[in-house]
């Protein structure tokens, strides 16, 4: 099951239980998490309620009145599905992934750090991408591999104009995000096969012109993986124990770096060259 059932629109009344977790944005709650007798309620204020069964096998959406299908689809794909997959035991992270020389390079960080812009720039330079906003990692032999997610990239207008320049079709606009979702515009740009993860880059500071790669100690890398994880229920001991174990394994084996670089479109080609060279040296 990777979809959801759309229910009748309804007004958002008080939740039965207080929120056990909240995501904040611009000083307001953008998502709240509640336990229910049947599982979980994930609420997007003024937009939609998603009910997730205890085993995460079923998801139902109650849109708020006048909220359209495209907005519900957007919320499901970007926010709810990663949480559902985490509840099913998958390792899901907030990041974009591109292919470099047959392996996957992951760029992780909070919203607004440039993950999608980097991914789009790599695609523009001829690389394939496996995901733009979230990705699933699974164990493969001694390492890990990235599963392909969705053949689209979400960009603000300025990044779209500077990088994709109208070459990709836009998905219908949604009322909860100012970003455009660009649908794979050139066949073959989306990588629909799993690839081994070669290195992870946690996006750091904006610099004036320098491009810096700082190796992360495994303990620091572990905490970065934790910070960039999706978890539906971060207080469920059995789940976080398994999660911790998996992340410790990744942190101990995978090369992880902090990447600082100038966030200017004119510098992107230089950033791409540096990242490509750095990544290939890890594999050598």
């Amino acid at each position: 099951m990777t979809g959801y059932t759309r229910r009748e629109p309804r007004l958002q009344g008080p939740a039965d239980a207080p929120a056990y977790h909240e995501w904040l944005g611009d000083n307001s709650v953008v998502t709240s998490f509640h336990r229910t007798p049947g599982g979980y309620l994930v609420r997007f204020p003024q937009l939609a309620d998603f009910e997730i069964s205890q085993d995460a096998g079923a998801v139902a959406c109650h849109p708020a009145p006048s909220v359209d299908q495209a907005t519900c689809d957007h919320l499901f794909l970007n926010q709810v599905l990663p949480l559902v997959l985490s509840k099913r035991g998958k390792l899901v992270f907030h990041g974009s992934v591109v292919e470099i020389a047959g392996s996957a390079a992951a760029f992780l960080g909070p919203s607004g750090m440039g993950k999608s812009t980097l991914a789009a720039a790599f695609v523009n330079a001829g690389h394939r991408f496996l995901g733009d906003d979230g990705f699933v990692l699974e164990k493969a032999g001694d390492g890990s591999r990235v599963l392909p997610s969705h053949p689209s990239i979400r960009l603000w207008n300025d990044s779209e104009s500077a990088i994709l320049a109208g070459r990709w079709a836009k998905a219908p606009p949604v009322s909860c995000s100012g970003k455009n979702r660009l649908l794979e515009g050139t066949k073959g740009r989306f990588c629909d096969e799993a690839l081994p993860l070669g290195a992870a880059y946690f996006l750091g500071k904006t610099t004036r012109s320098a491009i810096r790669f700082e190796p992360l100690d495994p303990s620091e890398a572990l905490l970065q993986w934790v910070r960039n994880s999706f978890l539906l229920d971060p207080r469920e001991p059995a789940v976080i124990a398994t999660h911790f174990e998996s992340l410790a394994g990744i942190a101990n084996t995978l090369p992880c770096f902090r990447l600082d670089y100038p966030r200017r479109f004119a510098e992107l080609h230089r950033v791409l060259d540096s990242v490509t060279g750095h990544f290939e040296r890890q594999a050598a």
């Binding site: 100690d217 303990s219 572990l222 905490l223 971060p234 174990e245 410790a248 942190a251 101990n252």
Partner: protein, 95 residues
């Protein structure tokens, strides 16, 4: 807290060595903690069931440090770990 105190790691605390350090997870609170390589060595010895006293004796053979300083550092770290609920203290032979 005394060096002769028996120390145990509660069931709700998980730890894993990552590189030369240890990262601990308090499952009850969902909070993570990190220990540098020296703290990690103490943690490793405590997880093997050693008392603070025995851990000090073992570490004296591994680090070039005066006994008084090591014992003071170990006690201070153990108190911090206990304050965070990452270890529990009991007297040897006690309940």
């Amino acid at each position: 807290m005394k060096l002769s105190d028996k120390v145990t790691v509660p069931a709700h605390v998980m730890s894993r060595q990552v590189g030369e350090e240890y990262v601990m997870l308090d499952l009850a609170q969902g909070v993570y903690f990190g220990l540098d390589p020296v703290g990690a060595r103490l943690w490793q010895l405590l997880c093997e069931g050693m008392s603070l006293e025995r851990a000090c004796a073992a570490m004296l053979g591994e680090y070039d440090v005066p006994r008084a300083q090591l014992e003071s550092d170990v006690l201070r770290l153990a108190e911090e770990l206990a304050a965070q609920g990452l270890i529990e203290i009991g007297n040897p032979g006690g309940p």
